[in-house]
């Protein structure tokens, strides 16, 4: 485990730095000069007809961090991810700056969104077979890449299974493998484990953190939308709290836990106090 965290390099050091400064404010200043932005969201508002979904959201996603966006259902958290992906455009005056190429951003939805007519391996290969990616690799290279990510999520034995033959948790792992196949440095996740039972969820939480820390993947930054306080504290370096609609960033909480994270950390005083603090803030919203 130690080997993994040291291999992950400066990325992990920053998170560890934050861990020692339980207060949070000092943590932000200590390594500020090291922190480069991966995505900058400036003053983004979004209006559908007469409904204002986002209200002047400004947010910096730092390169290398695991960030959760926490907020009540329907507050516009998912909308924010769609803005980053370019599937939606912000209202006049808002802007989004990507500090990495657009192709380096992967996406995982709440539903696995697998094609039922394709096997696990074919589903994983999908992003490699469409758009500009297709021309980049030969057919054999694409397949090899898909095989590798399938193995990464531990489902090599289910290579030729169709999605309907897999459990909900397995389907979501295939969806994660599909996102990783395109070799992203940033992964956007829209309540990826929201539809899973508690046991599977916790297992996949830890598994995802391992993938994030895995030095063999390019992945170093994760932005995860969730409505689970526990999940956000267990996984993230920083938690962005959103107010109800029209959504705005109400606070950003530093999580005072070291990496690598384990499920057992949920009993640590630092974990419990962070959860308590967030819960208090949620009530005040």
């Amino acid at each position: 485990m130690a080997a993994i965290s040291s291999l992950a390099g400066s990325v992990r050091e920053r998170a560890a730095g934050a861990a020692f400064d339980a207060g949070g404010s000092a943590g932000a200043s200590s390594g500020a000069h090291l922190q480069t932005s991966a995505i900058s969201i400036q003053n983004c508002s979004l209006t559908f007809g007469s409904v204002r979904v986002l209200n002047g959201v400004s947010l910096d996603v730092r390169s290398g961090e695991f960030m959760s966006i926490l907020g009540p259902s329907g507050c516009g958290k998912s909308t924010l991810l769609r803005l980053i992906l370019g599937l939606l455009r912000p209202d006049q005056g808002g802007g989004i700056t990507l500090h990495v190429p657009r192709e380096e951003i992967g996406i995982v939805f709440q539903k696995p969104v697998l094609m039922p007519w394709q096997t696990a391996i074919q589903n994983i290969e999908l992003p490699l077979n469409i758009g500009p990616q297709r021309a980049k690799q030969s057919k054999a290279e694409r397949r090899e890449r898909a095989e590798w990510t399938l193995e990464l999520v531990g489902l090599a034995d289910f290579r030729n299974h169709y999605p309907q033959q897999l459990s909900g948790g397995m389907q979501q792992r295939i969806a994660i493998a599909r996102a990783l196949a395109a070799n992203p440095s940033i992964l956007l996740m829209d309540e990826p484990f929201g539809a899973l039972d508690e046991f599977t969820r916790e297992k996949l939480n830890i598994e995802l953190l391992r993938l994030w820390a895995n030095p063999d993947t390019k992945l170093n930054t994760v932005v995860m939308v969730t409505h689970s306080i526990q999940e956000s504290v267990l996984m993230s370096d920083r938690i962005v709290m959103m107010s109800p609609r029209p959504a705005n960033v109400s606070d950003i909480v530093q999580v005072p836990l070291a990496h690598p994270r384990e499920a057992e950390m949920q009993e640590l005083p630092a974990f419990l106090s962070t959860v308590r603090e967030i819960r208090k803030q949620v009530k005040a919203l």
Binding site: E103, F109, P116, G131, Q164
Partner: protein, 250 residues
């Protein structure tokens, strides 16, 4: 495996039983031939002539079925890519659907003659609507997130069509094909009623003039068999093409 055998055996046993009872009833009560011929009387008139007429009807029905489905599916593609086309043409398609093909058949014979084409056209008209409606529904049945997934990875319009829309629509398309496979025979026979010198419709009409009830029964039975053949072909194609709907039943 045993359930599979039972699935086939039970209906056959039941049908054979019914035929035997029918045969017995006709003989015991001495029902006149022109009223209700016994199965054996009907079997006696099955000949090459009947098969030739059945072939003609099948030819018209299959041709109408194929043309209508190709045309209907292409129209559906047009609809999902162009809202003005959908808004403009859909009401016309519904108007065509609500017009009974029986009322149109004489017109078709005037326009297209008493040959094959008037029957093919009647068959087309009757098959067109199911495929149009189901294909539009199927092509639009794409999950929003799936569309977002393709967009996020910059999939082209063609890729979204071939890798997402088309496979998503297949279950809808195949169920339309199943519906219209039996309707196609109806269209062809209606066309034959109005004006023709071959086909099962012609045979039914002719035998009614001559009060030749056994021949009429044989033609009716042949029409049913023709419909079953088409339906069976489509059902087996469906099993192969939409294999993924079968998978979770295994």
């Amino acid at each position: 495996m045993t359930t599979k055998i039972k699935d086939v055996l039970y209906p056959i046993a039941f049908a054979v039983g019914l035929i035997l009872i029918w045969e017995a009833v006709v003989r015991i009560f001495d029902i006149p031939l022109y009223l209700l011929p016994a199965p054996s009387d009907i079997a006696r008139v099955v000949d090459g002539e009947l098969l030739r007429n059945m072939g003609a009807t099948l030819y018209e029905a299959v041709l109408g079925f194929l043309l209508a489905n190709v045309l209907g599916f292409l129209t559906a593609i047009l609809f999902v890519h162009s809202r003005p086309a959908e808004k403009g043409i859909f009401p016309l398609a519904i108007a065509l659907k609500t017009t009974p093909v029986v009322a149109l058949a004489p017109l078709l014979v005037i326009w297209l003659g008493t040959g094959y084409w008037s029957k093919v056209a009647a068959s087309m008209i009757i098959c067109f609507f199911p495929i149009l409606v189901n294909s539009v529904k199927g092509l639009k049945a794409v999950e929003h997130e799936a569309w977002e997934l393709f967009s996020a990875y910059k999939g082209t319009k063609a890729e979204i069509f071939w890798k997402l829309r088309l496979p998503t629509s297949l279950p809808y398309v195949l169920s339309a094909l199943k519906i219209s496979s039996s309707l196609a025979i109806v269209g062809a026979i209606v066309g034959e009623f109005v004006g023709s010198n071959k086909g099962l419709g012609y045979l039914v009409l002719l035998s009614s003039y001559h009060l030749d009830t056994p021949v009429m029964f044989s033609a009716i039975a042949a029409a049913a068999v023709a419909g079953l053949i088409l339906f069976g072909i489509i059902a087996s194609v469906e099993k192969r093409v939409i294999f993924w709907q079968k998978v979770d039943e295994v």
